[in-house]
């Protein structure tokens, strides 16, 4: 047994599919109980490999993955008891029904017979598949299959949810439902570890974010702290008067302004990101007779951080 303070603990994880070619390189992080943590990274960064090791679908080359302090790869039967996992896009048994599949999973998790049937009704209602309980899965659309996979994952009311791209194949309504469901589950105390390439989804849903790139963890912090790490290099300004091309040229000529762009009736001013420079630009605008009605740094998204950090990592200016 390892420390049980954390729901998930990844310790110096390393994975090579081919000798000396690392897919994960010394990856370590922890997820506290009750947290909802996003796991982000470009394709091939090792997200799914981490999740597969965490659910015993793969063995690590070295290092450990613990769930509630139990080494998943040494004692998967015990470690995976409190887990509901949705990994990649799992296949379906065309010739079975949602009832057959959910009943099997309920029994694997040791649920009582009476409870399984009641819970099947409940989860199928949650994922809008109640009318399809006894229909063969072969007739299901991709979105319906995905919703059934989600139902399977939450059937036994797991303490820990491990989700790999849960929104794949879902329509906007389905995506919103998943987001709402995750928030509801977190309120009920479920720990959620979520890999996704949809940064807005992660930003809306998660407390913390782990960025993985080129096999390594490059950042792990709260969403707010991550956003603060990005230096804002653009200001959005509004003016009382309509600006002419000459006006835009005058703004562009201000020292420290390196870019002026008009979009949706707003002026976007590029600069070096330093607060002093921002102040100087504002002072110059006012002293030049521009009637400024609003002046604010542009909102930072996880996407900005993602782009900035990935560019830095690759030495891209």
């Amino acid at each position: 047994m390892h420390t049980t303070e954390f729901a998930i603990e990844i310790e110096n994880l390393e994975k090579c599919y081919v000798k000396d070619v690392k897919v994960l390189d010394d990856v370590s992080f922890t997820v506290k109980k009750g947290e909802i943590v996003g796991y982000l990274g470009p394709n091939g960064s090792g997200k799914t490999t981490t999740i597969k090791i965490l659910t015993n679908l793969l063995s690590p080359t070295s290092g450990h993955a613990y769930i509630n302090g139990i080494d998943v790869n040494k004692n998967p039967k015990e470690a995976l008891k409190p887990v509901g996992a949705l990994i990649e896009v799992p296949g379906i048994y065309d010739y079975l029904t949602p009832h057959d599949v959910l009943r099997y999973h309920g029994k694997v998790h040791g649920m009582e017979k009476d409870k399984i049937d009641a819970r099947i009704e409940e989860v199928l209602k949650t994922v809008r598949l109640s009318d399809w309980e006894h229909k063969k899965l072969g007739a299901f659309s991709t979105g319906m299959q995905r919703r059934l996979a989600v139902a399977t994952t939450i059937l036994h009311e797991p303490e820990i949810l491990i989700l790999d791209e849960p929104a794949i194949g879902l329509d906007p309504k389905g995506m919103k439902e998943i987001r709402d469901m995750l928030k509801q589950l977190q309120r009920e105390g479920t720990t959620i570890f979520l890999s996704s390439h949809l940064l807005n989804e992660v930003s809306d849903t998660c407390d913390k974010v782990i960025f993985l790139d080129q096999t390594k963890v490059i950042a792990y912090d709260t969403v707010e702290n991550i956003k603060n790490m990005v230096s804002v290099k653009r200001i959005e300004a509004k003016f009382l008067d309509q600006l002419s091309t000459d006006d835009l040229d005058r703004i562009g000529a201000i020292a420290s302004v390196n870019e002026v762009e008009v979009a949706n009736g707003r002026i976007h001013i590029g600069f070096d990101g330093k607060p002093e420079t921002s102040h100087q630009i504002l002072a110059k605008l006012i002293s030049s007779g521009f009637r400024v009605s609003s002046y604010a740094p542009e909102t930072v998204s996880l996407e900005d951080f993602y782009v900035s950090i990935m560019s830095d990592e690759r030495g891209v200016n």
């Binding site: 015993n56 679908l57 039967k77 990994i87 296949g91 694997v108």
Partner: protein, 274 residues
């Protein structure tokens, strides 16, 4: 101690759950219906065709049974291929294993469950074939004509089925595609091993170690050849060829069944979802 007991109890309950789940899959896929239909149709043909063509049945019940069971080997291999061919490879090829293998149960419970379900389904098909044959014997020769040897043949068919399922299950654990694993197992048992056996016999070498050769004991035990049950020594020559010794044949079939089952389970347990 209590924890170990509970652990074993859940393992056993998972094993039975997996057997039931796999059997349900076989039933829903209708494959079992197809082979059961064959198991009924084949002996009925042997029963119906002789009178239709003006011929007679064999003189004795055992001789009738021996003729009737001419297709039992084929039926066992077809059943084994259909039920065990994609048992493990299917979970990887169709990615259903992503959900199945991340559940809190031992891989052994899943894989042994798959093997057992394939074996039970194959045994059921064989039982139907023998039951229909038995009813035909009773109708033609009377119930009293159903011999101990017929019962022995049935038991040997069950043992051969275990070795066939083990061979095909083994390929299912090492192959990536379901079609490949099914076809390799099928052609190995229906074509490759019989050809090797034929070549060896032609070279005057008894292929006692080949399971397909050993399967002849299923019909030999009915007394239609001079070899088989009760014979001693490694081999009995019949008309210039070889015939498997009863005990050696049973031993070889059991050896294939047990060794390939254990190797297959070991490989399936170690296989990862890459």
């Amino acid at each position: 101690m209590t924890s170990l007991k509970n652990d074993m109890r859940t393992d056993i309950s998972h094993l039975f759950l997996n057997i039931r789940f796999e059997l349900k899959k076989h039933l829903n896929r209708k494959r079992i219906v197809l082979v059961v239909a064959l198991a009924i149709a084949l002996p009925i043909l042997f029963y119906a065709i002789p009178p239709l063509l003006g011929g007679d049945y064999a003189d004795t019940a055992n001789a009738f049974a021996s003729t009737n069971l001419g297709f039992i080997t084929l039926l066992i291999v077809i059943s084994g291929a259909l039920f065990a061919g994609d048992a493990v490879s299917g979970e990887f090829e169709k990615k259903t294993g992503l959900t199945l293998f991340s559940t809190p149960q031992r891989r052994t419970s899943i894989n042994v469950g798959k093997f057992a379900a394939a074996l039970l389904a194959t045994w059921f098909v064989i039982s139907v074939y023998y039951l229909v044959t038995m009813l035909e014997i009773a109708q033609i020769f009377g119930f009293g004509a159903i011999s101990v040897e017929f019962g022995m043949s049935f038991m040997l068919a069950l043992i051969y089925a275990a070795s066939v399922v083990a061979v095909i299950f083994f390929f299912s654990t090492i192959m990536k595609g379901t079609i490949t694993s099914t076809l390799i197992g099928f052609f190995l048992l229906m074509l490759i091993l019989p050809i090797i056996a034929g070549v060896l016999q032609f070279a005057d070498v008894e292929p006692w170690f080949l399971v397909t050769y050993s399967s002849d004991v299923m019909t030999n035990v009915l007394g239609t050849s001079t070899g088989g049950f009760g014979s001693s020594g490694p081999a009995q020559r019949i008309g210039g060829g070889f015939s498997p010794d009863f005990y050696v044949g049973v031993g070889v079939m059991l050896a294939y069944a047990i060794s390939l089952f254990l190797i297959g389970i070991g490989l399936a347990n170690r296989r990862k979802m890459e």
